[in-house]
Amino acid sequence: EFRRFSLERSKPGKFEEFYGLLQHVHKIPNVDVLVGYTDIHGDLLPINNDDNYHKAVSTANPLLRIFIQRKEDADYSAFGTDTMTRKKNVLSNVLRPDNHKKKPHIVISMPQDFRPVSSIIDVDILPETHRRVRLYKYGTDKPLGFYIRDGSSVRVTPHGLEKVPGIFISRLVPGGLAQSTGLLAVNDEVLEVNGIEVSGKSLDQVTDMMIANSRNLIITVRPANQRNNVVRNSRTSGSSGQSTESSLPSSTPNILANFLQGEEESDEEDIIIEDSGEPQQIPKAAPTSESLESLTQIELLHESTQNGFLPSSEVNLNHSAGSISMEYEAQDSDHKSLEEDGTIITL
């Protein structure tokens, strides 16, 4: 069943209005539907919020082809994203075979369902034996839900094999964030916390570091189960080539490519109540040039380009059409990372 209608391109309005319009045009006011469109690459992409609605309208050339499916018999796997994302999803599929089977039954529609819980980052700069996992604590009520312990691991050194003390994940709390991501497992060795190497630090120190970073925790682990690396090996052949190094890249705290300072700041904002009024976020004072943070931020970008790879947001920049404003793009890249974890692609 086809309908054809026109929209003011410069004033697309809100997704809610558009959704209402669709229901009106199709005379299905009380039916939940899933909306999708084909983008310039021919991929079927969802429209479920203002942002991707705006993007869809702005990229219409001149026709915007929209697909509407009834929610109950929707085929989620029909949605596809660009090639970049597909790669990463291969990985998460392989790593989470269980989730793969269950996921299609989850209704993915409104933005709150797209809340990220975790992501694997810096795949291209880490050796394949390591995995850098980011846990998004903010916005969820789920506990982080894991325990760490002391242990020892075997390292290859110039003097042969050596037993060195290490920190390991000792327990995952059922239903906790750590367990639900499937990216961390018992006996994984913790190598870094938010870019800081843990070797030489005591269990208590590492505990304190993790708790201090708990709102945006990035843990680099050496998974106890290394079997999945084979898959990744074949996949990463085209990446920047650093992945074959057998040790961690030198651990300057700034090497985390995806660890953008700005993002980190945003979820750290303290709250103030003035004169028993409403709680408000404390704004940042105008940064002074001597601020430590601004320095590190500059350094961060500086180093990452030198290292010969681009942070993923910049990759997306190249992909996007030139007409789109920067602000828009930043949000878009944000969504990209959401989709990486939210959508499941079947091979």
Binding site: G145, Y147, R171, I196, D208, M209, I273, D275, K284
Partner: protein, 960 residues
């Protein structure tokens, strides 16, 4: 590209940092932990104390201190000074001997270990053959005589420790001329004591443990006299003229023996059991001191009736008809007598007795009637009641200093006026730059004021808060004041009394305003006292108020301790700090933070439930604020009720045993003296440790939440005159930080001075900041327009500080355990932060602003933050830029009590407890260093004959 340079690589700043900061541990204050040996040199007038951890400390005149540490960390068993030398020999429990000497280096003396030596027997001999039991440094200074368990006496040369085998005195040689019958009964005895003849250096007295004593002629290598004792020997002592000696025995007796050339095997002159006739404990050491008036002093350790007083640690002094058994609260390690050491003097004329007990040093004046104690200028027992908190105040105004000293001197009237008898060496350290006070709060409700200006930490004044309250503790003070006919004539001496009768009295927080003399202290049961310095005794009523910190919280039940009962009516207070206001928090939880503003006459206090503000001028509560999360049951009930430690209850039960023992002194038998308590405690600690090790070490990783327990715990309170609401008007304010990362700010309206009594102080909540990382707030500070911390109350009024810059914009520094953050004021926006935990895994334990002066120029100084972390590191962080300047490892991270006890001074020094009884003093500043610097000169040895100050040497008293 300059902007890409990492901060802190500016060469000018790096140079300046070298001129400002330097880390040194300078001196240990207090009483050595676990002393194990004592030595004294009558020649140098120096005393040496050895400890179970292998440290030796030398003390002379106040300020003259040396410290050495044996590499082995073994217990020091014996210490002997070499006669007429700046040298001493130590014997450790691994049977090694160490020679130490005091040598001058660049104008000051230093204690150095020169040689070490372990006596080795022939191959195949049992270890007991060379186990040293007695050491005699010969007056010739050339040899040491070493008595052993096998009964053989080895001779070693000094300082090389070469064994002179041909001079060994074997037990076979000694026994040759002993009567057959006696000899058969006793073979193979260990050497208990070696004493050189006071007049004839060629003769030494050898005492064997089974009772045999021989006088040995070193020239002819044979025994000249045999004294056939029948009791197990403990020790020997020569009379000054060498005509008699005295032996003391295991059965509590002592015996006098004559030495004359006509009788080679004399009978004892006198045999006495001083505390008989019932069985007595051993007399382990004895002195016989002659005097001009003919009556000797007989001074001996132990000998108490075994059944009734066997647990007493006593030293008895007998002089004619006077006899006193000094009763110590802890085990006696050793003691010595100071007497006229001039070799030509005819009599000993003892002047003082110095007793090293396990927990304190006690000096008794033997010249003054009544034998009063002498107030020691150092080696103070900091822990006479356990230290619960400390507070340091720098640069005390002279007036206040003198008033405190005068109050203290009224407390010390029972001490002797004798000048400190151990007066060797010369203190050449420069005078301390300023007068500093260290205040320690104790478990028994006292606050002690210490002169912390220099090397000697001296007690100035002791304040007790107990009188304000009704406790069940008081009445039996006179337990030890005995009637005339009491026997034995015990007299309790010393100050060490670790048994707190009511733990609620414990002092938790102290704040002293040095300008006004107002002092506030707060304790375990929520009591807050405000005190004023009064130079006279006074009797007055203490105003009493209650602060209900829970306000309207419903359904709550406090299961912790009850509040303290107060005394009704006027209370008599001695001169000194006298309380005039008492605020009791309800529930009576421990006070966790305290602040006083002497200009506004306000005191603020916080507990785990909330905080309050009290106007001590009008004696009125201004407001209370409950910080408790409604679901925080644990804090509601009081932590003590749930986590009452087994250790504590164990200690309490021992305390009960002890108390009942004290009250029924005549009771027979019984066990459990202080040392047993300690042993039990140690054993318990060990068991607890093992348990912990067995449990899998696992740490939960979880973000903090508002629902966590004890988030309402008030960690810090701060008064500031700043721009709280708008940038045109500043006003008094009170800031509070909690365990849950919340900062509350109240604006205050304090009436002007002329209407101060008429109008009430008003407070209104102006701001509440929630740090998203929710870590405990441990420090709040307002920086003025120049980035300088606001001065203390009254500091400007006394012209001791520039007035703060009220033109520029103020900034708020909030220090949490995890990060330091600077916010702008009055509109709160975040400006700067320094993350510590996220980057390093360390947490802030203590923070204080310190002023650092340059050692190069007098006109430069800056304020920085001194931060102690849970890893025991000290970091210096610049203000207001929050840049890490330097980091020093200071305390072992396992030493939790050391870290908890640390206090910083305003000028970059600090103190922390290295044991319950010792403060380590450290300095972060290049400019302010307080460390011992002293010289010990070798006095001229006038006579070159070998008649020296004889029996002054502290010879081998083997400890049982």
């Amino acid at each position: 590209m300059r902007r890409f340079l990492r901060p802190g690589h500016d060469p000018v700043r790096e140079r300046l940092k070298r001129d400002l900061f330097q880390f040194n541990k300078t001196v240990e204050h207090g009483f050595p932990h676990q002393p194990s040996a004592l030595g004294y040199s009558p020649f140098l007038h120096l005393m040496a104390i050895g400890t179970r951890s292998g440290a030796i400390k030398l003390y002379g005149a106040p300020g003259v201190e040396f410290m050495g540490l044996h590499e082995e960390n073994n217990t020091v068993m014996q210490i002997h000074f070499i006669p007429d030398q700046c040298q001493l020999v130590t014997l450790l429990d691994d049977n090694s001997l160490h020679l130490w000497s005091l040598k001058q280096h660049s104008g000051a003396s230093e204690l150095r270990e020169e040689h070490r030596f372990t006596l080795k027997g022939p191959p195949g001999s049992p270890p007991s053959a060379t186990q040293i039991t007695a050491v005699l440094p010969h007056s010739s200074r050339e040899v040491l005589y070493l008595g052993t368990e096998s009964g053989n006496i080895f001779v070693v040369e000094l300082p090389s420790f070469r064994v002179l085998e041909d001079r060994t005195i074997t037990s076979e040689a000694v026994l040759q001329r002993v009567p057959e019958k006696y000899c058969n009964r006793r073979s193979c005895e260990l050497v208990e004591a070696l004493r050189e003849h006071p007049k004839n250096p060629d003769q030494i007295l050898i005492g064997y443990s089974r009772g045999l004593i021989v006088l040995w002629d070193l020239q002819n290598n044979k025994a000249t006299h045999h004294f056939l004792g029948s009791q197990q020997l403990e020790n020997l002592y020569w009379q000054r003229d060498g005509s008699k000696f005295i032996s003391c025995h295991y059965d509590g007796s002592y015996t006098q023996w004559p030495v004359s050339s006509d009788n080679r095997q004399p009978e004892p002159l006198e045999n006495l059991v001083p505390y008989g006739p019932f069985p007595c404990k051993a007399i382990s050491k004895i002195y016989w001191q002659t005097t001009k008036n003919g009556l000797p002093y007989i001074i001996f350790q132990g000998g108490m009736p075994r059944a009734s007083y066997g647990d007493r640690h006593s030293i008895s002094v007998v002089h004619g008809s006077q006899q006193t058994a000094f009763d110590f609260t802890s085990r006696v390690i050793d003691f010595f007598i100071i007497f006229g050491s001039e070799p030509t003097a005819e009599f000993d004329d003892p002047s003082a007795m110095v007793v090293l007990a396990e927990e304190e040093l006690v000096v008794i004046d033997l010249k003054t009637a009544g034998w009063p104690a002498v107030h020691p200028p150092y080696l103070a027992s900091l822990h006479c009641s356990a230290i619960t908190c400390s507070h340091h105040v720098s640069n005390i105004p002279l007036k206040l200093w003198e008033r405190i000293i005068s109050a203290g001197s009224k407390q010390n009237i029972h001490y002797s006026n004798m000048p400190w008898p151990i007066d060797g060496g010369t203190n050449i350290a420069p005078d301390p730059p300023q007068r500093d006070l260290l205040l320690t709060g104790h478990e028994d409700g006292t606050v002690r004021f210490w002169d912390a200006s220099g090397v000697c930490l001296r007690l100035l004044y002791k304040l007790s808060t107990v009188r304000v309250f009704l406790t069940d503790a008081d009445p039996n003070e006179n337990m030890n004041t005995l009637g005339e006919d009491e026997w034995p004539p015990l007299r309790k001496v010393g100050t060490f009394d670790p048994y707190s009768d009511d733990p609620r009295l414990g002092i938790q927080k102290i704040y002293l305003c040095k300008y006004s003399g107002y002092l506030t202290v707060a304790g375990t049961a929520g009591q807050v006292l405000v005190m004023e310095l009064n130079d006279e005794d006074a009797e007055h009523v203490v105003d009493h108020a209650e602060a209900d910190l829970l306000q309207d919280q419903e359904g709550y039940r406090w299961k912790g301790h009850e509040k303290l009962k107060t005394r009704d009516g006027p209370v008599r207070f001695e001169a000194g700090f006298q309380p005039f206001v008492l605020v009791q928090c309800q529930p009576p939880a421990v006070v966790t933070s305290l602040a006083l503003h002497s200009e506004w006459k306000l005191v603020a206090f916080g507990t785990s439930h909330g905080f309050g503000l009290f106007d001590y001028q009008q004696k009125r509560q201004v407001f209370v604020k409950c910080t408790l999360h409604p679901s925080d049951q644990l804090a509601l009930e009081g932590p003590l009720s749930r986590v009452k430690s087994l250790k504590k209850s164990l200690r309490q039960s021992f305390r009960r045993i002890r108390r009942s023992r004290v009250s029924s002194r005549k009771r027979r038998g019984g066990s459990g003296n202080a040392s047993e308590v300690q042993e039990a405690n140690a054993k318990f600690d060990q068991e607890a440790l093992q348990e912990m090790e067995l449990a899998p070490v696992q740490r939960k990783i979880e973000a903090r939440s508002a629902e966590d327990s004890f988030t309402g715990f008030v960690r810090t309170l701060y008064f500031a005159d700043t721009f709280l609401r708008d940038s045109s008007r500043h006003c008094p304010s009170l800031w509070a930080g909690t365990n849950g990362g919340t900062v509350y700010a109240f604006s205050l309206r304090v009436p002007p001075a002329e209407r101060r009594m008429d109008e009430p102080v008003k407070a209104e909540q102006a701001k509440e900041i929630q740090l998203m990382h929710r870590a405990p707030v441990v420090g709040i500070l307002v920086l003025d327009g120049r980035g300088t911390p606001l001065p203390e109350p009254l500091e400007v009024a006394h012209d001791l500080s520039k007035s703060p810059d009220m033109q520029g914009s103020h900034q708020l520094l909030v220090v949490s355990e995890e990060q330091l953050k600077v916010f702008t004021l009055p509109k709160v926006s975040s400006k700067l932060k320094l993350k510590l935990t996220a980057l390093e895994g360390c947490r802030v334990r203590k923070v204080m602003v310190a002023n650092f002066g340059s050692c190069k120029t007098d006109d430069y100084s800056e304020n920085d933050l001194a931060v102690l972390t849970n890893l025991g590191d000290i970091q210096i962080i610049s203000l207001p830029s929050l840049k890490l300047q330097i980091r020093y490892p200071c305390i072992r991270k396992e030493d939790v009590s050391g870290i908890a006890s640390c206090v910083f001074t305003k000028y970059g020094q600090g103190f922390y407890l290295i044991s319950p009884s010792e403060f380590e003093r450290f300095s972060l500043s290049t400019k302010w260093l307080v460390e011992p610097r002293c010289v010990v000169d070798t006095p001229e040895v006038t006579s070159n004959n070998h008649v020296h100050n004889k029996s002054g040497m502290e010879n081998a008293a083997r400890k049982s």
